[in-house]
């Protein structure tokens, strides 16, 4: 394995770790907070309803936006750190 290959492999596994972490958050807010865990969160009230309803109609969308911008920012930085960015 050459130096270049090792560098590329490290870049790819850093990308995969970032994706897995982001998708865990993605699933937690939508399938978790918005659907499956709603009964557990019913005690926390938000503007006339509960936290689960807020996640389903607003919270998950806001989290999705934050996730994509975080991922783009991290990856564009990683591209440069590993010297794999475009000229």
């Amino acid at each position: 394995m050459t130096e270049h290959d090792r560098n590329a492999a490290a870049y790819w596994s850093a990308n995969l770790r970032l994706i897995v972490g982001s998708l865990i958050v993605w699933a937690l807010v939508s399938y978790g907070g918005g659907i499956l865990l709603r009964p557990l969160l019913s005690g926390i009230s938000v503007g006339g309803t509960d936290l689960g309803f807020w996640f389903a109609q607003q919270g998950s969308i806001l989290t999705f936006i934050a996730l994509i911008f975080f991922y783009a920012w991290r990856m564009n930085k990683l591209d440069k750190e590993f010297d794999l960015h475009e000229e």
Binding site: A8, Y11, W12, N15, L18, I19, S22, L23, W26, S30, Y31, G34, I35, L36, R38, P39, S42, V46, G47, G48, T49, D50, G52, F53, W54, A56, Q57, Q58, S60, I61, L62, F64, I65, L67, I68, F69, Y71, A72, M75, N76, D79, D83, L84, H85, E86
Partner: protein, 589 residues
């Protein structure tokens, strides 16, 4: 000035703008036609993607569905936005690095097989054509209401306008037209919502108004709405859902389907760099979220306004007299989308849930003999400004916005279809030596044919719009998304695995839908009644796309591991799409 003249000014003015942009941005080369020359700024591309993505379903139907279903229909909000997270992380940057014009081209190259490319073309065309029918139907309805023409005439006008700017401009024209269409549709959607939020809660921002106090009653808006609907026998607006498995799978199908729809994916081929593809997905979601955060507020407020119109003194007092009904009810009665039948002959309009057994006794005590007003969910957004007594220019604006949503999506889909035919079918196999000029002509002819077919099918739709759209999402989720993802994240999946996986995912989904909704959507040919008791594990046909996608993954991995590994140069291709370095602009060779 009459309402008709105002509508004409708004709709006509916005159309003139779109066509002017298309003439200014005429495409000269195949590259400009397919991917706008690969030089679109990520923010601008995000805006165009948002217009491309938000169709008549998002603009016209979605808030109506949420108003009717309450919390249970939050699935649309999460499903149609969450797909962008998948796109940004799992597909867009790598497909941009690959740098070709079309989705089937990637599948054909990565799985080194013309057959794989054909299967992908077939999935793409079925998914896009079924989706475009819904858009044309939506445009037809909006035209017939606001321009006061027959809905078939409205459809033909819509077809001609799409033809003019899509055929002439290609992706370059479409991109700039869609930026204009986004601006029109978002203004049209939010202005009435701001007015209504101010009227009901005093808060000018609808997403905050949704969770604020209802000024008139002093209690939270959603709590007030729960009380009103409960008094009429409906399920609470914020009530939880018992079939959680189905809710999860339906949301997942919409998310995977979003990430697998070819007209959305090709948008990411139009930006200059891989890093721009990542930003572009984020910007697209920001622009989409402006509408998607407003929609749930529109839904709950419109539901409350509607019930207040029918029961001015509250749901426990008498309903209004039919003869005193407001003008908007009269207008929509003419289209047949609102129907009234005085079942207990008391001259009043009783709107309540006559399917609830526990409410029957109350209804009998109040002398009611069944629900008397049927309101089509699809009119809610269009009728919203009239229900809230907003000025007539707002009504003209909403007409222009609804049409912008339908036409921008139709144009994007038609471009995906024409590139699949001219680039993947004709240049890819029938006549590889075709000149660039010839290919451009073939692309324009196939787009024209697709518009004629879509307009004709829009006049004779094979089923309800929701069913047709569900099929499009199911196909995209079960066939295209898994193939693309495995092509990038696995070096082991080979040609046989990919083809077997796509076919297994496609067929299982289509058959499951046909079993309940009728074979080829022909009414009355369904094998089982479409009720929850008959569904496999309680999974509705609309949610099956997620299961189809899982079948696709499992079959592809099983077949691949039983057969030989892909050749060395393919494994190198997979390596190369993973690293941004060395990406040129998109090419067709």
């Amino acid at each position: 000035m009459s309402q008709f003249a105002i509508n004409l000014i708004f709709v006509g003015g916005s159309f003139a703008l779109y066509i002017a942009i298309a003439i200014w941005a005429r495409a000269g080369s195949t590259k400009e036609f397919y991917v706008a020359g690969g030089g679109v700024n990520p923010v601008m591309n995000g805006m165009a993607t948002a217009a491309d993505w938000m169709s008549a379903a998002s603009f016209i139907s979605m808030a109506g569905l949420i108003a009717a279903g309450g919390y249970a229909n939050s699935t649309f909000l999460m499903g149609w936005t969450g797909g962008y997270v998948l796109l940004a992380m799992l597909l867009a940057p790598y497909l941009r690095k690959f740098g070709k014009f079309t989705v089937p081209e990637f599948i054909g190259d990565r799985f080194y097989s013309k057959n794989a490319r054909f299967v992908a073309v077939a999935c793409l065309i079925i998914a896009s054509v079924t989706y475009v029918i819904g858009q044309m139907t939506g445009a037809g309805v909006a035209f017939s209401r606001f321009l006061e023409v027959e809905s078939d005439t409205g459809l033909i006008i819509a077809g001609v306008v799409v033809f003019l700017y899509a055929v002439m401009g290609g992706m370059k024209g479409i991109t700039y037209t869609q930026v204009a269409q986004y601006v029109v549709l978002i203004i049209a959607y939010t202005i009435p919502a701001v007015f209504i939020s101010l009227q009901l809660t005093g808060n000018p921002l609808p997403p905050l108004g949704l969770f604020s106090e209802h000024t008139e009653s002093g209690m939270p808006l959603l709590q007030k709405l729960d009380l009103v609907v409960r008094d009429l026998g409906f399920t609470d607006y914020t009530a939880d859902v018992s079939n959680k498995l189905n809710m999860v799978l339906f949301t997942l199908s919409l998310m995977i389907g979003t990430a697998g729809l070819p007209h959305v994916i090709i948008r990411f081929f139009t930006v200059p760099k891989v890093s721009d593809a990542r930003w572009s997905a984020g910007w697209a979601l920001v622009f989409i979220a402006l509408l998607y955060l407003t929609a749930p507020a529109v839904a709950s407020m419109a539901r409350l306004n509607l019930l207040n119109t029918i029961y001015p003194a509250g749901p426990t007092a008498d309903a209004i007299q039919y003869t005193e009904r407001p003008d908007w009810i009269k207008n929509w009665e003419q289209t047949g989308l609102i129907k009234f039948e005085d079942k207990n002959s008391d001259g009043r309009i009783q709107l309540y849930n006559d399917k609830s057994d526990s409410f029957k006794q109350v209804a009998t005590e109040r002398g009611w003999n069944g629900n008397e007003l049927t309101v089509n969910n699809d009119i809610l957004v269009l009728a919203n400004p009239e229900i809230a007594n907003l000025p007539s220019w707002v009504i003209g604006l909403i007409a222009a916005g609804g049409l912008a949503a339908a036409l921008s999506t139709a144009a994007g889909l038609l471009l995906a279809i024409s590139s699949a035919v001219s680039h993947d079918l004709i240049k890819g196999s029938i006549n590889p030596n075709i000149s660039e000029k010839g290919e451009l002509r073939a692309a324009r002819i196939s787009m024209a044919v697709a518009i004629v077919v879509a307009t004709w099918l829009g006049m004779n739709p094979p089923g309800f719009a929701a069913q047709v759209v569900a099929l499009a999402f199911g196909i995209a989720a079960a066939s295209i998304f898994p193939a693309l993802m495995m092509g990038i994240f696995s070096k082991r999946v080979n040609n046989k695995g990919a083809i077997a996986g796509m076919l297994a995912g496609l067929l299982s989904t289509v058959i499951y839908i046909f079993l309940y909704l009728g074979w080829f959507f022909i009414p009355g040919t369904n094998t089982f009644d479409n009720v929850q008791a008959n569904w496999l594990l309680g999974i509705s046909p609309l949610s099956f796309g997620a299961v189809g996608a899982m079948i696709n993954f499992v079959v592809a991995f099983a077949v691949s591991s039983a057969t030989e590994a892909p050749p060395k140069h393919i494994q190198e291709l997979v390596e190369s799409v993973r690293y941004p370095k060395g990406a040129g602009t998109a090419t067709g060779h």
